[in-house]
């Protein structure tokens, strides 16, 4: 096993983890802002 070559996989795994969490949190924020729009429309 070549430690220097495998370090790429370590980076890839850590980046992938935070990418997935980031995407999910992004979707939450999008859903929240859409809901706020809907709530604003309610009064009209």
């Amino acid at each position: 096993m070549n430690p220097a070559g495998s370090i790429k996989f370590l980076y890839a795994a850590y980046i992938a983890t935070w990418l997935i969490h980031g995407l999910y949190i992004g979707s939450l924020i999008r859903r929240y802002s859409r809901l706020r729009e809907r709530k604003k429309d309610l009064g009209k």
Binding site: P3, F9, A13, I20, I25, L35, L42
Partner: protein, 243 residues
């Protein structure tokens, strides 16, 4: 309660940063796998967190079926969704670890396969929640969650037996773990559990907000329909009488 959210967020961020530092620079280098072994500090805590969330989902589903408590249903939905996110992390980081260590991306190992099936079950759970039109979606979803939970031990046994029949690549399981590694692992688990709690909390508040908005919309649609009916109350039925 509301004050607690930013505090939890700050604590989680600190914990995650510290756990990251420990995982990369402090934990000792594994002899055969080298640095790539450090994926372990993200992979395993994510798996434990996902299983924990699915377990909470089951409990909440049962509570919902018994008590018909809307909050229990919201908890079930939230833990199911966040659980799928963590489970996805597990399934993505797993192969990234397996490739340099075993030379293959995937193997039908017992833990991998059980996790994959669990992921499939909970994705179908979320699909059901998304596609169901009935006001009784929570009931259907809770029933599906129970079916999923019953399925997991059967999946586990079938793969366990399958594996004993077929040759498998040797997986670096068993044996003892360096106490310093264990320390870093538990620290990461704590950090990710806090993170899961934080995300679930945010998602729960989003769900409650959504329900509030939908209830208001339901009421409004009725009132709009009602204001039109006021005028025509006496005419409408008469106007449709048969000739």
């Amino acid at each position: 309660m509301k004050r607690a959210f930013p505090i939890l967020a700050a604590v989680t961020a600190l914990l995650l940063a510290y756990a990251f530092y420990e995982a990369i620079w402090v934990a000792p280098m594994e002899r055969t796998m080298g640095d790539v072994q450090r994926i372990f500090y993200y992979h395993v805590p994510s798996a434990w967190t996902a299983f924990l969330l699915f377990f909470v989902n089951l409990i909440a589903s049962v509570i919902y079926l018994v008590r018909r408590n809307a909050k229990a249903d919201a908890v079930a939905l939230v833990t199911g969704e966040v659980g799928v996110v963590f489970c996805t992390v597990v399934l993505v980081t797993g192969p990234i670890w397996a490739r340099p260590v075993w030379g293959i991306w995937w193997t039908w190992d017992i833990r991998l396969t059980t996790t994959l099936v669990l992921w499939l079950i909970y994705v179908s759970y979320l699909v059901l929640r998304r596609f169901s039109e009935s006001s009784q979606t929570p009931k259907l979803a809770a029933v599906l969650a129970i079916f999923g939970a019953l399925d997991v031990p059967l999946v586990y046994f079938s793969i366990w037996f399958f594996r004993t029949q077929h040759p498998q690549p040797v997986i670096g399981g068993g044996g003892s773990i360096d106490p310093r590694m264990l320390h870093v692992l538990l620290l990461n688990w704590l950090a990710f559990s806090c993170f899961a709690l934080l995300v679930s909390w945010a998602r729960y508040r989003l769900e409650m907000f959504k329900r509030e908005v939908e209830e208001a919309e339901a009421l409004e649609s009725l009132l709009v329909a009602g204001s039109g009916a006021q005028i025509s109350k006496t005419q409408i039925p008469l106007s449709r009488e048969p000739q």
